[in-house]
Symmetry: C2
Subunit: 180 residues, 2 copies
């Protein structure tokens, strides 16, 4: 078997919106869903080959570039993808290095823990700025944002914003708790 689950569906999802090469899929991921989903070539290409073998996607050689392979989702693939979409979401057990380190904070000077959280806060803040810029540019682009499907793109972005704001709030609270 090798290589399964998750990446399969990410790829099928991308191909449900557009046809393209492995390279295109990677580009699309980086551009749109990167902040909550990452894919790498080492994973994409073998999964593409596997999906094609299963008949969930079909391959066509590009007329322009010999090497380039253009993939499209098949009816069977769309069916399989929708089946997965309907299934309840599996809660994955989280592993947070940040919280693990905070838990064992008594092993190092309190000032170092504060420093650590300040650094994390900075990273959250710059991330938040990015998200806000993305939101703004999306809303400015009326052609995109007035489409009925736009809600499916804005919602994950909103998640990023809301979750990051909360994380920053926690940093502030924790720093003041450590100081006080």
């Amino acid at each position: 078997m090798a290589i399964k689950n998750k990446t399969r569906y990410a790829i099928l999802g991308v191909l449900s919106l557009m046809s393209g090469s492995g390279y295109d899929i990677k580009k699309f991921c980086d551009k749109t869903i990167a902040h909550f989903w990452n894919e790498n070539f080492g994973h994409i290409y073998p999964v593409l080959a596997q999906l094609e073998e299963e008949g969930l996607i079909s391959k066509a050689a590009s007329s322009k570039d010999e090497r380039r392979k253009e993939y499209s989702i098949t009816a069977k693939g769309r069916e399989e993808f929708c089946k997965w979409m309907m299934e309840p979401i599996e809660f994955q057990p989280a592993r947070s290095e940040l919280l693990l380190k905070v838990s064992f904070g008594s092993n190092i000077p309190k000032e170092r823990v504060i420093e650590m959280i300040k650094l994390v806060k900075q990273r959250y803040e710059s991330r938040l700025e990015e998200y806000r810029a993305m939101e703004e540019s999306f809303l400015k682009n009326k052609k995109e944002s007035e489409k009925p499907e736009s809600v499916y793109w804005i919602a994950p972005l909103r998640y990023g914003i809301i979750a990051t704001e909360a994380a920053i709030k926690w940093c502030e609270e924790t720093i003041s708790r450590l100081n006080g």
Copy 2:
């Protein structure tokens, strides 16, 4: 080599607070850090053997139970652990099945997406209740909560509460956006 990083430090962290068997370590994890860090026996035992080989922990046979092995952290282990504690936190690339599904929501009826998010919201709500109960019982236990180290236990719990509240807020916002 095999088996490395992360679990090593989780185990060293637990042993920095108490000595005990692999079984004890698992119990401790389940009781205290389970909501952001999980460990399983299949991982703990091989890592314990490895840490002992490296001289980061030491083993003593229990007087009561032949099988039971009691591990303690060594000076070298404490040093290694503190070194890791001082290192900046690596941001791990997240993979959110929820956001992936929302992104590709246009493939299924809108009502199903709403249903999906309602289900997720319910799970977040029951989780939030758990966290709040944990917080309350911790604050009631004056002996524990008045220790200076208590901040390191309350902070991760606060993170759980704040982050979950934010997630619920997002669910509500998204549901109303989908309805409106």
